[in-house]
Point group: C2
């Protein structure tokens, strides 16, 4: 099982493309329409935002995935199609238009939007762009698609792995965007995952739903859950393995491969958080159970006070303890150990929930790096989890406060 | 019922003082030790942080308030006495020292600390300062005490009201600090409330516990719940009214007077949030119930995205809908109206959960003011609540990230 180059087109039978169709009227260069297609119908699964205010495309995608099958993803950036007039109609028409040009039935198409909310979206740019988009489809098109779904992301994000199932070489490839603002109105996290492994829809949903608990759901840039978050996976079976229909060693292998991809993309999203200068990982162990560890690690990387301290490269362990203490998890706070690490080493700063004497110079040197890990040991159980975030910087405020000027 | 000048010494029978005793070694001017005393034993009640990591003084205060009686508050700033060696012993000795100088039994003393966590606190500055502190006690000393509990607060905060109970003139006066960092390690909210009304301990606790649901608990600067938050109230009965021992018109009058004080202090705390340039109030009505309205209004003023938009004076109603949508409250998000207002007027920006056409110039003019109110109507029930916060600014990041440089 190893990482390979590429993204959503790394698995056999997938093509992708991205074009500028004019949804972003002010920027005539930025690609704003992405298409990912499989050469055959796929098992499909998805997870969506828990926000009660939802983008219109989510309802359409949910309806299309009722039969747990899909063959394509169409996604625009620049407008979230949320709280906008005729949103559902626009999302449905987008699928119909995609169907006309690709021959894939509209009900087998996943539709997503990301961008500003509350602004009308018209069909006109889709009508102009769909022809060139379908024309551009290519097995090398993953990066084009990855670029087309970007909003305030500063880099496109892709990851792929190769692994074996029953002697057949399989692949999982994916792209993700977000944890930046959208045009700039709202942070939306989107990720599209493709695999040529044969996996039943039920097991695919199970794999995805379990996976995101420890990856995308453990990511926070600013704690704001978007109206449009969607993670979708399609499995087309082109690798020729015997379909995975139940738990067992092959399902475990598939889940491990999936985790390799989603964890890398989660880190890339955190590192590219708005205004971020550092990727912050918090590893919690010794928690009562995994759920508590997830909640506690995420509370640390979500704290504005802690995030500001990381920006200031200050080993402020008191803020780690504070954010653990107010997390919605049951645990005993009397024997907490905190270490902080980076490529420059690891330093213990707190033991038995109190100061552990350490060199401030050494701590500052460790925290000057761009990838920081906070290690927390609660000394009470076997629960472990990680969470990822970034520092809080002047630029976060600038991006989100000043964009009109 | 009306506002009067003053703070904790506005009620009859209370004296207060504040001195510099040297807990803040770097700043030899800033007062860092406060004392509030009543001339007789009081009914007393308190509420504390829900953080599992708690300052040592909280355990001591809880023990001293088991009999629901108190006669004095001793509070230092500059060191939180949290995760610090011998914390409980230091807090107990502080009460004993206060008892020696005032003649008030140690077990009738409320003790609080606010400041940096994880650093050792010694008795030495208390021993040096207690004599001058008790010497300085005065019925004009409320402001001294209010100044002595400040940490990164930029202004001291006091409020007082006068009202009648059964023909007797009564007063409630209070001070508060916080929603800024502590020296600078952690936002701690402290408020000490004094009244000369006679109220039984049970009804005093009931009044306080109900009141904070709609005042201090509806305040957020950065979402970080401190280890040391404490709100304490003492009622000494000097006004001569018949003691309030049950619900009824007099209890309601007392609660209304209390609310007048705590709501003003809540707003002062929000306005003085770290780096804040604006006070933001969110009023939610039409919610299924009051609890939902509280959660929803607080979610709006807690959103970093929304707070950044307020700093940018941008009528970004999409962020209001987004933060309502992810709040942990049950409600129907289909018919939300949002208006934004200030001294310059009120403008509707969202109706039926969609854009309501409006002038951006007019909105910008309204949001250029220093006190902004966001009016949300969910059109489904009678639940109403308010919450208070501030904008997120470069200075917040600076205060919390750069303090060592």
């Amino acid at each position: 099982m190893n990482y390979i180059d590429g993204g959503v087109c790394a698995p056999a039978g997938f093509q992708a493309a991205g074009v500028h169709c004019g949804i972003r009227s002010k920027n005539t260069e930025k690609k704003d329409l992405a298409l990912i297609v499989s050469d055959r119908l796929c098992s499909a699964a998805a997870v969506y935002t828990t926000n009660k205010v939802k983008g219109a495309p989510i309802a359409v995608t949910k309806a299309h995935l009722e039969n747990r099958k899909a063959q394509a993803v169409i996604c625009n950036s620049g407008n979230a199609n949320t709280c906008a007039p005729n949103g559902r109609e626009i999302a449905e028409k987008t699928c119909q238009l995609t169907a006309e040009y690709t021959g894939i039935p509209a009900e087998d198409i996943i539709v997503c939007s990301t961008g500003v909310i509350g602004e009308p979206l018209s069909m006109e740019p889709f009508e102009r762009g769909m022809g060139p988009l379908v024309q551009a489809l290519s097995a090398d098109g993953g990066t084009m698609a990855a670029e087309a779904i970007m909003t305030t992301d500063t880099v496109s994000k892709e990851c792929a792995v190769e692994f074996e199932l029953g002697g057949k070489t399989c692949h999982i490839g994916a792209t993700a965007k977000g944890s930046g603002m959208i045009n700039p109105n709202m942070a939306t996290m989107l990720s599209f995952i493709a695999t040529d492994a044969a996996v039943s829809p039920e097991m695919l949903q199970k794999a995805l739903s379990e996976d995101i608990k420890d990856t995308y759901n453990q990511l926070s840039v600013d704690g704001d859950t978007s109206t449009n978050d969607t993670v979708a996976i399609m499995a087309n079976g082109a690798a020729g393995n015997k379909e995975i229909t139940e738990e067992g060693p092959e399902f475990e292998t598939f889940c491990r491969a999936l985790r390799m991809v989603t964890e890398v993309l989660t880190k890339k999203l955190a590192r590219d958080g708005e205004g971020a200068t550092k990727l912050i990982e918090c590893q919690v162990k010794g928690a009562p159970d995994a759920d508590a560890a997830r909640i506690l690690s995420k509370s640390v990387i979500s704290s504005d006070l802690f995030k500001s301290a990381m920006f200031g490269e200050d080993a402020n362990w008191g803020r780690v303890l504070c954010s653990l203490g107010y997390a919605r998890a049951d645990f005993d706070a009397s024997d907490i150990q905190v270490e902080m690490g980076s490529g420059k080493g690891v330093i213990k700063v707190c033991e038995h929930s109190a100061l552990y004497p350490h060199s401030e110079e050494e701590a500052a040197e460790i925290l000057a790096e761009e990838e920081i890990t906070i290690y927390v040991d609660l000394h009470q159980g076997k629960g472990e989890a990680k969470a990822w975030g970034c520092d809080l910087t002047y630029d976060y405020v600038k991006i989100n406060g000043d964009y009109r000027s």
